[in-house]
Symmetry: C2
Subunit: 355 residues, 2 copies
């Protein structure tokens, strides 16, 4: 297969926790395939970690150069700039990067500092990939407009229901016509808790077990009160329906609204209770607990699976389900975004990398 | 969003039955969106119908010209060449076409004349889109090699389980890493018959009802004996696993192997019987009736739904289901292929249209 010339991408990794390190390992693993199948080479021009501070590549991150990813994965990269938020933000304007990969923590109040990172990247001409829901849930429409204005890409596959390829599906499977509605079970912690309750456990026991297994956070309210599902619903509404919906616009009902006996009663009726997100072309985007058939898409998933159905104008109803997602798959979604950026450069939609 | 210059595609439509006419209507409906969103204009340079014979565009099918699709949909295009197989085949070499859309009937014995149509198109530099499973099931690897050699595209989204976006998913959702295995329920007629049997109907009654509803053909053996599922399994193995698997290589067991009482017994055990296709990186590709959980992907679909699961090396297990596909969605798959051809021209993978 004929290929275009190799195109070099200098990446800035902001955040190097579980997802960031998994992405780093994946980049090393995929190096040959990125080059041979997609015509891309990659080097790390900036690495911002919590404990290690922020480092920029002294050599400008040419092909084969840049920050030593293997050493970083061994924890051997030392601080060269003040660490913390100001460190990354201060380093971005002068760092040798073509795309910023924003993987820092999610702040549910304002979407910061992630949004500032993305904007600082845009200002110096860097495309953005974010695994962080904050920038989209709080400022998605403005960031999209700014990216379009600057001919830059803004990719966020990992924010859309772990790594269900929602963005990829919308672009390649629905290239023409509209998406009229979606329904989804975007939060797996609540599915786990509801299934434990259906099996006869008390609510408190179910939540404690979810914490013990690492499925729920130490403070589980972000999941149980529907905030996580609402954030995802806002991003789905932006991406699939093209609507300007923010977190504050989503009507949100949490698990408090589910009576103790309801999950077991639903099970006896061949159903499950799920925290369901729904949106359509007009009207409110909603997150609320619902009884759904155990044999259908929304109630059929096992364990921590996540499901999405879209109703299209021309292609009928499409259902997709990701089974038991793991951290490696979030990192894989970042890699999908990177390949998509390279494709969009080829088609002239966004500007080429300068590396 | 900046766009590349408009690119003009002259299409040859071979076959203008239900799918071909649905595609024609879709082209008219999508005209503005193809131009504005994807930078494409389209005209018809060749139209081969059964009753109307084969017509080529006298004006060379420039933008805004070519064969009048609206008139053709009204049945007003008259024969200008000898009709039938030789007609289309003889017309292709001199027709003004950049892509051949092969939608003629499926011959389960040799994959002809569809394969000859595709090859004749290749010989004159035309990309190929086929809704016809014959060329792939019988000659897929050779046709792919010839397309690659000539820098031409060969797209076949509609052959892969109606219009589940299998090809699109493989390309955009699994851009790196391998697919290790698939399982699918690619034949909806057998699902319908098995569910009727589970509900207490006799086998003969179930088949008769499927015929009455137009779900089964007058001769239902192609579905019931597993041939249709085996054809699709071969194409799935080629597309997803990159294996050279032909129809003759697929191990095939039909509904004859299902005892009369088995669907009802399965239902009583919380299961359904489905004709399941399975393949992996090595070993036989198989089609056979199986008991599958009614709450899972393969047994969970309603009515004539079709489901597919792929096990990827890096992205986990991905499940996808198309609910109650209709003829318009097969036509939509052709449109997806056309947009994908245009995208692959942009990325330099295949040669540009000459129109």
């Amino acid at each position: 297969m004929a290929q275009v010339d190799l195109r070099h991408w200098r990446l800035g990794l902001v955040g190097f926790g579980n997802v960031g390190q998994a992405f780093g390992r994946l980049l090393l693993e995929a190096e040959a395939e990125l080059r041979e199948r997609h015509g891309m080479t990659v080097a790390i021009g900036l690495l911002a970690t919590g404990p290690g501070g922020t480092v920029t590549a002294a050599d400008g991150a040419p092909p084969g150069g840049g920050i030593d990813l293997r050493a970083a994965l061994r924890g051997e990269i030392v601080d060269e700039r003040p660490s913390g938020r100001a460190g990354a933000l201060a380093a971005i304007p002068d760092a040798p990067i073509d795309a910023l990969v924003e993987m820092s923590w999610f702040d549910p109040v304002a979407g910061q500092p992630a949004t500032s990172h993305v904007r600082a990247g845009f200002a110096r001409g860097a495309h953005a990939i974010t695994t962080n829901k904050g920038p989209l849930a709080f400022h998605g429409p403005e960031l999209r407009a700014e990216a379009t204005e600057r001919r830059l890409g803004l990719r966020y596959e990992a924010t859309l229901m772990a790594c269900l390829p929602v963005l990829a599906l919308r672009e390649s499977a629905v290239p023409v016509g509209t998406i009229n509605a979606f329904e989804a079970t975007p939060n797996s912690t609540t599915s786990f808790v509801l299934d434990m309750m259906a099996a006869g456990h008390g609510r408190g026991d179910a939540v404690a077990e979810a914490k013990r297994l690492g499925i729920a956070e130490a403070d589980p309210s972000f999941d149980l009160d529907g905030w996580d599902a609402a954030v995802k619903a806002a991003i789905l509404a932006q991406c699939l329906l093209g609507r300007d919906v923010r977190l504050a616009d989503v009507e949100r009902t949490g698990l408090d609204a589910v009576p103790d006996g309801e999950p077991a009663a639903a099970a006896a009726a061949g159903c499950r209770v799920r925290l369901v997100a729904r949106g359509s072309a007009a009207g409110p985007v909603r997150v609320a607990p619902e009884r759904v058939p155990a044999a259908g898409l929304l109630g059929g998933g096992q364990g921590t699976s996540q499901a999405l159905a879209i109703e299209t104008g021309l292609a009928g109803r499409l259902e997709i389900c990701l089974v038991e997602p793991r951290i490696e798959q979030t990192a894989y979604a970042v890699l999908m975004d990177l390949v998509a950026l390279n494709r969009d450069v080829s088609s002239g939609r966004i500007r080429p990398p300068q590396g």
